[in-house]
Amino acid sequence: MLTERHSIELKVVELIAGLAKIPAEDIQTYQLLNDDLGIDSIRILELLSYIEDAFHFEMDVDDINPENFNSVNSVIQFVEGKVSR
């Protein structure tokens, strides 16, 4: 059975893989969205929207912090923090 952390990780990686147009299994959690996966400034905004839809919450203004969307891992941690509240 998947832990919540693992299930969030799988979903986030899947979303990022879709945006980066690469297979999910090729993504490492330490990778940077922009430098390593080529997710540019426009697609970062798409990612926010996908996260809202996938995890059923709306971001607060304070959530829009570049540090939350720096790497795959930072996105996972951000989503974990949001869904556990």
């Binding site: 940077l32 969205l33 922009n34 430098d35 080529g38 997710i39 540019d40 400034s41 426009i42 970062i44 905004l45 798409e46 926010l48 929207s49 809202e52 971001m59 203004v61 829009i64 912090n65 570049p66 969307f69 720096n70």
Partner: protein
């Protein structure tokens, strides 16, 4: 909002990185017994432009180039890594979200040529009807013209439209009120620059609130470089807490303003001195001088090849212009510059024009504001 100790720590980290990595800052004799940030020199476009290799981060990978002369007439090449662009774009989105913009949104950006093309307003009205955007961004004068067109033609304002956003031009109160009345939505303002994007954005009270997470703003006495207390007018200087490919630290914006702190909210409000916005005045209409932004790349290339350090376009009468140039080469009959400028002005103004180019040793700032200006009109 950012706490003082958090800011101090960010600035300390920034200074350490600067003196470790960047040749310009490595060479500075800093007194370790004093606050280091305050010892850093105030820099401007000309200083950075002349010493680019000392300011750029060594070993930079892929960067995205843009060009600006801003309102000061100093050609400048901006670079950003894709990561920096993403971070800056998130900062901008954060402010737009305060006005309700969803992550999945549609936006229309009004062209800088909107006011010079008679068909443009019709085109944008059709685009807005078709795309039903959540926001429209444009120069204040272009947003105003669009609002007038919507009113004259009784165009329907889409329900999805949440706000319109100004950029790159000072807005006056009557323009703002007119746009808000016609569209029935807020007119929000943005203050920033190509070098580091957002510096301040409208808050719900209609004030320009400094983005303290990504920039540190100070106001100085232009003559002494002394930092002024909140409430006093002076030159706005900015430090980007995000830009590292080319850091902007204690960087002169050339704008005059003052800071008002709201300690209870932790917010910082920037009030810019209302200077007359630059407009090209024609016999039958006015156009924003921001049109000259289309020439930013040309002026940058000329700065590299011909040593242009600064320029100022003066409109002497409705259809005659004089370009003052501070340059290493004689530009008065330059085979590239003159024909390009004449062609550009003819196209934008839809009229024949006269142009003289004059080499000068110095371009004086505005005597009232102290600000260097890339365009002035002598037409009243």
């Amino acid at each position: 909002m950012i706490r003082i100790n958090e800011l101090t720590s960010k600035l300390d980290e920034l200074v350490q990185e600067l003196v470790t990595v960047y040749p310009f800052y490595q060479s500075l004799p800093l007194d370790r017994g004093k606050p280091l940030f305050e010892q850093l020199p105030i820099v401007d476009k000309q200083l950075i432009g002349r010493n680019l290799s000392l300011f750029e981060r060594p070993g930079l990978g892929k960067v995205i180039e843009t060009f600006t002369s801003g309102t000061t007439g100093v050609p400048f090449r901006c670079i950003k890594t894709p990561m920096e662009r993403s971070m800056l774009s998130l900062v901008l989105y954060k402010h737009r979200k305060k006005w309700g913009l969803p992550a999945k949104h549609k936006m229309i950006l009004l062209s800088e040529r909107l006011l010079s093309d008679s068909k443009a307003l019709e085109h944008y009205a059709a685009l807005i009807r078709r795309d039903r955007p959540h926001m429209i961004q444009g120069r204040a004068s272009a947003l105003f013209a669009l609002a007038q067109y919507f009113e004259e033609k009784s165009c329907e304002v889409p329900q999805e439209l949440l706000f319109v956003q100004n950029w790159g031009e000072q807005v006056n109160l009557s323009q703002k009120q007119q746009v808000e009345r016609v569209f029935g939505i807020p007119f929000v303002d943005y203050y920033g620059m190509e070098e580091c994007w957002c510096i301040a954005f409208s808050n719900q009270q209609g004030e320009l609130e400094v983005d303290q997470d990504s920039v540190y703003v100070q106001v100085i006495d232009s003559k002494t470089g002394q930092v002024l207390p909140h409430g006093e007018y002076g030159e706005v200087i900015v430090t980007s807490l995000l830009m590292r490919s080319l850091p902007f630290v204690r960087y002169r914006t050339g704008d005059i303003g003052r800071l008002i702190g709201h300690p209870e909210k932790g917010s910082l409000i920037l009030q810019l001195l209302p200077v007359r916005s630059s407009q090209i005045r024609l016999s039958d209409r006015v156009l924003p001088a921001a049109l000259f932004r289309y020439l930013d790349r040309l002026f940058w290339e000329l700065s590299v090849v011909k040593g242009i350090r600064q320029f100022q376009m003066i409109q002497e009468s409705f259809y005659s212009f004089r370009l003052l140039v501070v340059s290493d080469s004689d530009m008065s009959e330059d085979p590239v510059l003159k024909p390009k400028l004449i062609g550009f002005l003819r196209q934008c103004l839809a009229s024949d024009i006269e142009l003289a180019i004059e080499n000068v040793s110095f371009i004086a700032p505005n005597p009232q504001s102290g600000k260097f200006q890339s365009f002035i009109s002598l037409v009243s």
